[in-house]
């Protein structure tokens, strides 16, 4: 059974000499294919200059839009940040002002008490 299989394989894979004129036919075919015009490609539209310009324009527009969006976002964030900074300073100024008012009242009271008691 094993010998049969080997014999069959050898028979199938035996070297076969090419038929007469094979080399000429092959070279003629290669030459003919080289000289013939290329087959129209399905992706030909991609290669047209108009399409290339359109693609480049589209890519540039997208990049510009992203850039503008980023710039506007940064600008808005800066405006909000500066406004927040102004508000913090204003809030602390108001707080200080009222602490100062409290201190002034305390000072007035303590000075009026010491005026009433000059010996103290």
């Amino acid at each position: 059974m094993k010998d049969d299989l080997e014999t069959e394989l050898r028979q199938a894979l035996r070297p076969v000499a090419p038929s007469e004129g094979f080399e000429e036919r092959l070279l003629a075919r290669v030459t003919a294919e080289r000289s013939s015009p290329p087959k129209p490609s399905r992706l030909k539209w991609r290669r047209s200059p108009a399409t290339r310009w359109l693609s480049a324009g589209l890519a540039a527009s997208i990049l510009a839009a992203v850039g503008i969006q980023h710039h506007l976002h940064a600008q808005r964030e800066r405006e909000i940040g500066l406004e927040a900074r102004r508000q913090v300073i204003e809030a602390l100024r108001v707080t200080e002002e009222k602490l100062e008012l409290a201190y002034r009242v305390v000072k007035d009271q303590s000075s009026s008490v010491s005026d009433e008691k000059p010996g103290v």
């Binding site: 909000i80 940040g81 927040a84 602390l92 707080t95 201190y103 305390v106």
Partner: protein, 188 residues
């Protein structure tokens, strides 16, 4: 079976968190819309944590005033200010302030000081909320005949840092040394 007892289970699980809920230093400040319309000047500032963080990014640490401000706001989670100035005396109602003052009677708040001037009729109250030894909230109510201001600061406030700011925003420098102004250490 479990579905029937679900409300009970939820209540049991939530009970400890409700009982030991941390005191909230954030005051519910009214809109004061009508007062703002009548006021000759008004300041409304609402700075939540995100706005404070944003402000922090725009403070220049090389500038002494900005650096001091940065230090003060470092541990803060919010600053809320409502301040109104009027052209006539007592244009605002006392009840406007009482609504806020009422919130300061909640547990956790302690009155740090109260000053009343007979001469100028200025009244300033400072309340502080503490957690352990740390101040986590500050409220200030200042009322004068033509002005009233409410300040609510949330977060770990270092009064020493606030003290450092004195004189930096055009306000005269205060002399808040404990020996010279013992009233500031008064407790409720």
């Amino acid at each position: 079976m479990i579905r029937r007892f679900m409300p009970v289970i939820v209540c049991v699980l939530l009970a400890p968190s409700l009982t030991f809920a941390a005191p909230n230093p954030r005051l519910l400040l009214p809109e004061f819309g009508a007062l703002a319309d009548k006021a000759s000047e008004s300041v409304t500032i609402t700075l939540d944590p995100s706005m404070l963080a944003m402000a922090g990014r725009f403070l220049d640490s090389n500038d002494p005033q900005d650096a001091a401000t940065q230090e003060v706001i470092k541990g803060l989670q919010g600053i809320y200010v409502r301040s109104y100035t009027f052209d006539q005396d007592y244009f605002y109602k006392q009840s406007d302030i009482d609504a806020v003052r009422k919130q300061l009677s909640a547990p956790g708040w302690n009155r740090l000081m109260e000053t009343r001037s007979r001469k100028t009729h200025a009244n300033v109250e400072i309340y502080i909320m503490t957690e352990g030894n740390k101040a986590i909230g500050l409220a200030l109510i200042a009322s004068e005949p033509r002005e009233f201001t409410i300040v609510n600061i949330i977060g770990s406030i270092d009064l020493q840092k606030l003290h450092k700011l004195e004189g930096q925003f055009g306000v005269p420098k205060l002399d808040l040394d404990a020996t010279k102004a013992p009233a500031l250490n008064k407790q409720k």
